[in-house]
Amino acid sequence: MDEAAASIASSPLPTDQTLRRRKSLVFQLWRFAALNLRMLTMITKGSH
């Protein structure tokens, strides 16, 4: 196994709960709002 493959093989897998959260409509609606707000804040922080 080469270095890249070994590194991938030793990386953490998401738990079942994380995978469910990534697809949960309710949780993702909340994340959609939160991520948009976070991105907008970050964008407006720049010098432009």
Binding site: S7, I8, S11, F32, R38, M42
Partner: protein
């Protein structure tokens, strides 16, 4: 009356032209020169490349928009700059050659008071023998390329359904490529499509990249804070590769491509091959390769453009070791180093150095991603140049320049990992600033609060929303300017 000529109608040039038209009164002329008749929302090309969108969903004709907004449009290629004028025309001007079918190969000179070079990348497939649609691989750089890629992918899926195992390679086709994020996106969209087709067990998918490690994305990687711990984009990305069963070949410079075989060199100097049935490899970029002449008719191209064809602007181009790179080396006004009424924005400006640490193989081959400067930073640069020009037209040439350095600018990258309003997924990442500032932010070079990543369905919704929002903006629909770049 002033005339502003914008070369290029991609994200940067189109943004600059629309803002100039909005800001300047009707007494001033805004002219756009672009060899393409259509505007393309390039981030959605990856969905065209898997057959989930068609060309018309990611492009629209520029001419009607420019007609409605009062912008003069020439479908033509800029070939030569005369910033001091020429024997033929005393004022600064640019020579163009029409690609418009009704005036094909006709030439003209366009005089300007201000010029914005937003010519974007020249897709340099020729840098790697066998690379690209004229060779043996496909691309998603343009909408027609992506349509062709979708056809090849569908054929590969059909073979898998007939029981024929397929080897799919997605990545970059040269050691100095940029846009690794797009290759990453396409990798996982391909994986998603194959899984949806029920033949995932028949596919070997490999991501082939010039990145030193996964998660580099040409920006030297990122450090995120999650659940009270610092984690790296490397670990985060590797986890996704493991979860989705995708292989990776890192630190690779593709030397040549033959039918079914990719030849590449790695940073340790080893030469290897990778067999494939389907390969989408992005090309390296060059500048538009315009020539520049002074009033005496002498070729001064080397004073205005870097050897890469990108325009030299207000950056510090002094060669120095990686450890001495500074955030302030990066340009902020995008004014040409030689002519203050000429600006180079978006991909067209020459970066002072890479963002990822430069590395060279024992054979002397440079294997390092070039700095990404697409999308949001491109739009911001276009708007910044437009605002400076507006001020100079209104207040005189001494008006202070507006500034937007990539070392003081954030960027959001929403990397799709599969489509579908219920089953889609994307890696939503932001970083601030794009160019790390180690003096200001310490060892990570970026703000811990504003640099984060998250995988999930919400990321897909954001990317889908951005698709419609930016096409709305580019069509200059009502209140378009309220949508941030």
């Amino acid at each position: 009356m002033a005339r502003v000529v914008v070369l290029g109608a991609g994200i940067s040039g189109h943004t600059a032209a629309l803002h100039l038209r909005r800001l300047l009164g009707k007494g001033h002329e805004v002219v756009v020169v672009s060899p393409n008749s259509k505007w393309n929302w390039i981030p959605s090309n990856i969905w065209v490349g898997v057959g989930k969108m068609n060309t018309d969903q990611v492009t629209f004709p520029l001419a009607p928009i420019y007609k409605r907004k009062g912008i003069t449009f020439h479908q033509a290629l800029a070939t030569t700059l005369y910033p001091e004028g020429s024997a033929e025309l005393a004022s600064p001007h640019v020579a163009i050659k029409y690609t418009d079918p009704s005036r094909l190969n006709e030439t003209a000179n366009l005089a300007y008071d201000y010029l914005i070079n937003a010519t974007g990348p020249k897709l340099n497939f020729a840098a790697t023998p066998g690379l690209g649609p004229d060779g043996y691989t496909v691309s998603v750089c343009t909408a027609p390329h992506a349509t062709e890629a979708a056809g090849h992918l569908a054929a590969a899926i059909a073979k898998m359904k007939q029981g024929e195992r397929q080897r799919l390679v997605v990545g970059v086709g040269h050691g100095t490529c940029t846009c690794e994020g797009a290759a990453f996106e396409y990798t996982f969209n391909v994986e998603h499509e194959i899984r949806d087709a029920g033949v995932r067990d028949m596919a070997d998918i490999t991501y082939l990249t010039n990145e030193y490690e996964l998660g580099d994305f040409g920006v030297g990687g990122m450090t995120f804070t999650q659940n009270g711990f610092e984690t790296t984009s490397k670990l985060w990305t590797e986890s996704l590769f493991r979860e989705r069963g995708v292989n990776a070949v890192l630190q690779a410079h593709v030397e040549k491509i033959e039918p079914g075989v990719i030849h590449y060199e790695q940073l340790d100097g080893s030469k290897n091959t990778l067999e494939y049935d389907f390969a989408m490899l992005l090309p390296p970029f060059r500048g538009a390769d315009m020539q520049v002449f002074n009033a005496a008719g002498e070729d001064i191209t080397a004073e205005v453009f870097a050897p890469s064809g990108f325009m030299k602007v207000d950056a510090n181009y002094t060669a120095k070791p990686f450890e001495e790179w500074r955030a302030e080396d990066w340009p902020s006004t995008y004014e040409s180093a030689r002519f203050p009424n000429v600006f180079g924005v978006g991909i067209a400006f020459a970066p002072p150095h890479q963002i990822s640490k430069p590395r060279t193989s024992p054979n002397g081959t440079v294997i390092t991603p070039a700095p990404p400067r697409t999308g949001m930073p491109s739009g911001v640069m276009g708007k910044t140049a437009a605002m400076t020009i507006f001020d100079r037209i209104k207040m005189g040439s001494s008006a202070t320049s507006h500034k937007a350095s990539m070392a003081n600018m954030g960027a959001a990258c929403v990397a799709s990992a599969g489509t579908g309003l219920r089953r889609g997924s994307a890696a939503a990442m932001t970083m601030y600033p794009v160019v790390p500032d180690y003096q200001r932010f310490g060892p990570t070079g970026r703000s811990a609060k504003d640099t984060f990543g998250e995988i999930g369905l919400a990321g897909h919704w954001i990317k889908y929303m951005l698709h419609f929002a930016f096409i709305y903006k580019a069509k200059a629909r009502p209140l378009w300017y309220l949508i941030p770049e």
